[in-house]
Amino acid sequence: MPYRFIEDRTMADVAFTAEGRSLVELFTSAGLAVTATMVKDVSKIEHLATKHFSLQAENIEMLLFIFLQELIFYKDAELLLFSGFDLDISQKGEIWRLRARAMGEEIDPDIHELIVDVKAVSLHRYSVEETPEGWRAEVMLDV
């Protein structure tokens, strides 16, 4: 699995690691982990709605941070949960850019077995690092 929840990292919140052979895979894994924090079976979220957005940051770490934060924003603002991503990540000078197409559907408690609401991404022990296999991130979510 491209993401794993860490059992004893935090008492009140939710922590996970996400991995990918590429940055796109890493971002996809982390995005799915955010969804999996809120809903028991991510595969039950169909691709009925699409959101396009672009983000930029000074480093890859903060780019992932604001990407995950964007997913949380759409959960509240438009009641959307996402189960698929089409991402393009590039670097120009010192700026990292993300163009995203996020696919999912509106929350339906009758279909999606809901777990817990995610309030925000925390920076506590947050990290993104390159590994021999690709990329790895550790993330803690406030729930």
């Binding site: 929840f5 004893d8 009140a12 509240d76 817990v116 406030d142």
Partner: protein, 494 residues
């Protein structure tokens, strides 16, 4: 769901015992500590706190302008940045900082306690109906929206600026409710021009919703033997065998976005502009009197107002449901509010520090204001008594009403806010199925309706400390004294 366990690498500090419930970690424990850390706990509680608490509270002790101690309350457990149960006060006139990580993402998350004139015998036949109707009237869980319809402009101009006063002016409540709410239900320092459009977009349709996680709405029973201060209980409208309603929620997506916006802003200016270095980026901060610090303080005030408005609208819904079920108006059912109190806020207060009165920004993250009699922060209605303090427990064990104690100045007028977790959410979910837990609790006389079975399992009583131990520690320390314990009989779980 795949999970992995983690072993802690944090060393347990050598505590200096000050008394049976006061333990210090000296400032030479960690490089950069400006003050010692002080834990308020019995030996039993301190031995069960997770080690991350000590790491986090000593990180807090390194922040500029911190006064006397970085405190951790008896329900302390690991959080992000500050531990939950963390209290720190910063002198705003000596470069003291303000930090979103010391207030929490759920700004002004808090508790509200509502009285009734009903007894258990009168409510029991209607309990299921009440819980079912409350579940429908007060939306809970991921992606819930409230019934209040208003434009984003109205939210920015009115809700974010006026808080519970807006709600009462719209007919969602009574004038007296404001007199029994901290700050009169409105953060006067709020300025909605300091709030992003994104925050408005996230939260404007969530007024009147509980949220999820440890948020709940509970019907509780005051057993006769659970009154510990008869005089004050009677004065505040409590009587043996009474049914009351308690709920716990905050500023929803609006507050979460305000905190995130300013966390990112502070990170970008903290070191470059103000030369502040921190040990955990979640402690990002700025001097209180800097432009960024002031903007956050004013935006945070808007989130305080959203949470007051949210709880006020929920109170209105509770009154509607009880009136419908019992066929009487809310006044006839005695549905008066006892108090509304926050446990996630930064508040500008004056305190005596080593004989000198200082202006402080007091951060309480998972810690409740607990003011001794006479403090100006206490609404006039309660000022001679001390502030009512509500400490919410798990859905199995009960909650407490307390009063600010004589020793509360020792902790900048702060006390615990809940039971405090002893087990992670993922571990709790492995231990029990939500549906089984609901059946078990129903067998014990607690009827629960939930938006999430998995969420219920995460909130199982065994995942928390014993609330009696938490209250005992606060009482021995003299920071807050128990008035009554309230046990659940019905619960709406987010």
């Amino acid at each position: 769901m795949e999970t992995v366990k983690e072993e802690s690498k944090i060393q347990k500090p050598a505590f200096i015992k000050i008394s049976d419930v006061v333990w210090d970690i000296p400032s030479d424990f960690k490089h950069g500590m400006r003050v010692p850390a002080r834990i308020i706990a019995t030996r039993k509680l301190i031995e069960t706190m997770d080690l991350t608490v000590y790491d986090q509270i000593t990180n807090v002790a390194t922040l500029p302008g911190i006064q006397r101690y970085a405190f951790c309350m008896p329900d302390g457990h690991s959080g992000y940045g500050f531990p939950i149960g963390g209290v720190a006060a910063f002198d705003v006139n000596e470069g003291g900082v303000i930090s979103p990580g010391g207030i929490g993402f759920d700004i002004n998350c808090g508790m509200r306690l509502v009285l009734t004139n009903l007894t258990r015998d009168e409510v029991t036949p209607h309990l299921r109906t009440l819980v079912e109707k409350l579940f429908r009237s007060v939306p809970a869980g991921v992606g819930s929206r409230g019934f209040v319809r208003l434009s984003k402009e109205e939210f920015r101009d009115k809700v974010a600026m006026q808080g519970a006063r807006w709600a009462v002016s719209e007919g969602y409540g009574w004038r007296e409710d404001l007199e029994r709410t901290e700050l009169g239900g409105r953060a006067s320092w709020a300025d909605s021009s300091k709030v992003s459009q994104k925050a408005i977009d996230r939260g404007f349709n969530q007024i009147g919703t509980l949220g999820s996680g440890n948020h709940y709405l509970e019907i509780q029973w005051l057993k006769p033997e659970n009154i510990f201060n008869e005089k004050l209980a009677a004065k505040w409208g409590l009587f043996p065998d009474q049914i009351v309603v308690m709920f716990h929620c905050g500023s929803r997506g609006f507050g979460h976005q305000v905190a995130t916006d300013y966390l990112l802003l502070f990170l970008s200016v903290m070191e470059r502009k103000y030369g502040i270095k921190i040990l955990d980026r979640e402690l990002a901060c700025a001097p209180f009197f800097s432009p960024e610090g002031q903007n956050y303080f004013r935006a945070m005030g808007c989130a305080v107002n959203m949470s007051f408005a949210n709880r006020q609208v929920i109170l209105h819904r509770i009154r509607e449901v009880f009136s419908e079920v019992f066929g009487k108006g809310p006044e006839k059912l005695g549905l008066h509010m006892l108090f509304d109190i926050s446990h996630n806020r930064g508040t500008f207060e004056k305190h005596d520090v080593d004989g000198k009165v200082k202006e402080l920004i007091v951060h309480r993250k998972g810690a409740t204001g607990s003011y001794h009699p006479g403090r100006e922060e206490i609404p006039e209605y309660y000022r001679k008594d001390g502030s009512p303090v509500i400490i919410g427990g798990s859905m199995e064990t009960g909650s407490y009403l307390l009063v600010g104690g004589p020793k509360s100045p020792d902790t900048f007028c702060s006390t615990a806010h809940g039971s405090g977790r002893t087990m992670s959410r993922t571990k709790a979910r492995k231990m029990v199925r939500g549906s089984e837990l609901l059946r078990e609790l129903e067998g014990k006389g607690i009827y629960i309706r939930t938006a999430s079975y998995a969420g219920v399992a995460e909130e199982a009583g065994f995942a928390y400390k014993n609330i009696d131990d938490v209250v005992e520690a606060a009482a021995i320390a003299g920071i807050s004294l128990p008035v009554a314990k309230l046990v659940p009989i019905g619960n709406v779980k987010g």
